[in-house]
Symmetry: C2
Subunit: 547 residues, 2 copies
């Protein structure tokens, strides 16, 4: 399939934002459905392939000349140089003065170009050895029993990526991987009673080895092991792996050096599933599976580096998002996988996108000129058709949707799968096509309703339509396809940050809450207010000084 977008001439002399607004004004007199009616090739032409993915951008407002304007914007913002800087290992994270080398973890050419091949390969060899030990049952705990349950302790990027990949790719087997993220005691209290200390190990992932939630959970887990194993305070050490940039702290926690895997400054948490943070993935699907996941991502890295903007999928996906956010002025973007195994994908993309691009200043500290990262949210289909789809179809606001599904199911319920895919395609169609009052009244008449009922219902049953969506399918839910999918979104997020001008790789917005929590926590313990009228009554009540 060829895409004629590759042939567009980019006009760099005019202001691309002004041009986009002009396109929007022109296009707002028509509809996406009318564009299909005029141009039956629109669907195929705007459907792109990359690895095991197929991405259909045709149910969006931009026509060929609006796409040209979007590409001109990317060119004007110097995106090709941005891509080279990212993949060449330049300091793209200015506030922390670091490169962002997640692509080097999976793409040999990027690793070579950025000079990290040696450390990456050494890390991977050790990671696969530990993962294989778990999978093969040769990792034995303090009592000599093989470890059968591995609990990942990590939060944010140390949780979401590994959890998503394990849920997506791991089948049922004799060994299990669990995830413990929340500091809420309900989480650990629900998990530990299901496990046997003799056969349970923990993988504690924290770049700084000071993430409060993870250290608190690990400390409680260590106490549970010590008590359950009954072999003294050193015994739990044999049941821990650490993934951290601060190995000395992990040693002090009681973890042996041979079970401490490195993290590096140049990998951000939300980009870290490709690193040793992915150990639970390798433990669940094996080293070969993990290598396929990396290969799938690398396939996208090479594409991102080499393809011209007009045929570059992360770029196109980003640009249609720029259209929605900055040209159409839409706040939010929904992610709806029609696959139970991808149920954590909305949460994963939420972190990836919103923590990267939820910023209001440029990398240099100037206020952004435009709205940046959208609100990313979603849920799994078909469930959400019975929840928020009413709102998507008939609400007063428009939110574009990424529909995501898998062509070849991993099960023997073909009728279920056919219904699933039919529903997904139908929802994208319904959002775009809509149904006006005349068509609605005709449908109600055909259903045999009486005139009074038709009158009462017609306007309630009108659909405005012209609501945009992307349709993305994987051939099958393989490690390679998942690698394709996640790297596609990673680079999409980078492209958008580059166009907006913010730094996608820092997250200073998480700090203030931590500082204030550190102030409140001892006050809750001592039941002591601090003269803050917004808090003291809560501190009194939580400490039961006030009924």
């Amino acid at each position: 399939m060829t895409t004629p977008l590759g042939e567009f001439r980019v006009n760099q002399t005019s202001d691309p934002w002004a041009l986009l607004q002009k396109c929007n004004t022109r296009l707002s007199t028509g509809s996406i459905q009318q564009a299909f009616d005029r141009d039956p090739d629109r669907g195929r032409r705007h459907t792109h392939r990359l690895g095991q993915l197929r991405l259909d951008l045709s149910r969006n407002v931009p026509d060929e000349s609006a796409w040209s304007a979007l590409l001109a914007l990317a060119a004007e913002r110097g995106l090709p140089a941005g891509i080279r800087r990212l993949l060449g290992g330049d300091t793209v994270n200015l506030s922390e003065q670091r490169p962002a080398l997640h692509s080097a973890l999976r793409c040999r050419e990027v690793a070579t170009a950025t000079g990290v091949v040696g450390e990456v390969e050494a890390m991977q060899a050790r990671m696969f050895e530990l993962a294989d030990g778990f999978a093969a049952g040769t990792w034995r705990g303090a009592t000599g029993n093989p470890i059968t349950d591995l609990v990942n302790i990590g939060i944010g990027g140390s949780d979401l990526g590994p959890k998503l990949a394990v849920e997506a790719l791991a089948g049922a087997g004799p060994r299990r991987v669990h995830f413990l993220a929340n500091v809420d005691g309900s989480a650990i209290a629900a998990l530990l009673p299901r496990l046997n200390p003799a056969t349970t190990a923990f993988c504690l992932t924290s770049k700084s080895f000071s993430t409060r939630e993870s250290l608190t959970n690990a400390t409680s887990a260590r106490a549970w092991l010590e008590q359950g194993l009954g072999r003294g305070p050193e015994a739990p050490g044999a049941h821990f792996i650490a993934v951290t940039a601060r190995p000395e702290r992990a040693r002090r926690f009681g973890i042996a050096a041979e079970r401490i895997l490195p993290m590096w400054d140049w990998v951000g948490g939300r980009y870290s599933l490709w690193s040793a943070v992915g150990l639970p993935i390798a433990a669940a699907i094996g080293a070969a599976g993990f290598k396929s996941l990396l290969a799938g991502a690398a396939e996208v890295d090479v594409h991102f580096r080499d393809e011209p903007l007009a045929r570059n999928l992360p770029v196109l996906l980003a640009l249609v998002g720029i259209w929605h956010r900055n040209v159409a002025g839409l706040l939010a973007h929904a992610v709806v996988p029609y696959d139970e195994r991808l149920k954590s994908l909305p949460e994963y993309l939420q972190q990836l996108d919103m923590e990267s691009n939820g910023k209001s200043v440029t990398a240099e500290g100037e206020p952004l000129q435009r709205a940046s990262g959208p609100l990313i949210w979603g849920g799994i289909g078909t469930n959400v058709q019975h929840a928020f789809f009413q709102w998507l179809h008939q609400g007063t606001d428009v939110v574009p949707v990424d529909f995501i599904a898998v062509r070849d199911p991993g099960h023997d319920y073909p009728e279920h799968h056919r219904q699933l895919l039919a529903n997904m395609l139908a929802q994208a169609t319904a959002l775009m096509r809509g149904r006006d009052a005349t068509a609605t009244a005709a449908v109600l008449r055909a259903e045999g309703l009486d005139p009074a009922e038709i009158d009462r219902r017609t306007l309630q049953c009108v659909f405005p339509g012209n609501r945009p969506s992307n349709v993305l399918m994987l051939e099958a839910l393989t490690p390679r396809a998942l690698g394709n999918l996640l790297a596609l979104y990673e680079h999409k997020v980078f492209v958008q940050s580059w166009i907006w001008g913010n730094n996608a790789f820092d997250q200073w917005g998480v700090e203030l809450g931590k500082t204030i929590a550190a102030d409140i926590e001892p006050r809750l313990e001592r039941a002591a207010g601090g003269g803050d009228p917004s808090l003291d009554h809560w501190i009194d009540w939580v400490s039961r000084r006030e009924s």
Copy 2:
């Protein structure tokens, strides 16, 4: 605690929307934090109690006179009459010509007033008998074994409410309740291999007994039972309960009359957990627990019916949402429970709110004059602090947050719980307080950074602040408190619908997608396009007619 809001005089002569805009203009020159600085009693005064709930509305922009204007709006919209109509059993669902009597399922006074006491009590007696049979191990399957695993088959309201309540309230025990909603074969394929047909039963909930997803899952479950039980085609019937308004269809499916529980037209799916749809809840927590859940909701019903608007919690919660949506112009509203057991609450409220108020026309079919139901989304704290909170704090858009927590934890990890609550209060504080450039630079200096680094970081680390939130705590996660919480939100949604003028109880927006899916599904089976250029290339690819 008294609330002086009860004493406000409502001025019904001026246009309340214009008055609200004036308030907003006036208040936009100050900040919420400044209001606290001026008025140390603000926190306590705007914190309200109801049953086992404590709700703090103080971290919002409205001052006393803006609250007066909001209450005037409610009065002008005739809200007291609306509440009477709802709880009196009037036809509030105009398009379907029905009352909405979910309150009658839990509040004896409402049931009496609306004349349904008899049918409700008869249903409950049968429901508790079935639930007790499961809990006591006296329900035996076709092979004589006691049923140990109950699988709820339902989607939307037949899934989300029961799932939330079971996750929130059920402890670990010898019997388990599972939830199967999605038609995706991955869901049933992951569940059935973990279960034994001899000891597994299904509760199939579908008002119409024609919900495609649920019937497809139930048909596959019945086949699995038939094969696994090996006692012929009648045997699976002993392993099924149905909850439906179409008992004759359930009989034809093979379910005995004594295991068919009624549903009624006058209970909407998203308001149905109080009905026989709650059977899995009663099965998991017992009849006494379920009665407490009902009693908690009834407590709110009576409050909602009897309290003046200015002291009526569902009304106040709704009005602050009206401020956010229509006065401040904010699209979305986040729900962030700081409790693992409430992890499904955001999804539950998403359906409740967005399916009720995701409408663009009045109950009479006129276009709404204002934006209606917001986008409801969220996740659990503290996890989401490491995901989308960057965006909430520093993104270019403002989204208010409902923070929800539980004072008395149900576990023995007090340090975990203290951290959890400290974090929640800290996030609400940080969103409100913010941190300007001067304060930020001072913090960075105090951390000992060098001047170049301070320069580089200061503007990245500024927090705009003045971002609103509600803080809501339950004394403990009891059935009563959960009943309080869910009924509070139900009535909040009703109040907003009344003010906007839309019908909260229909959901015509889900129909068009179903119609189109019914057209696409056979085309996927036959690999036959229909001349639709937006779909045919997908049908070819999914059917593997195109590589």
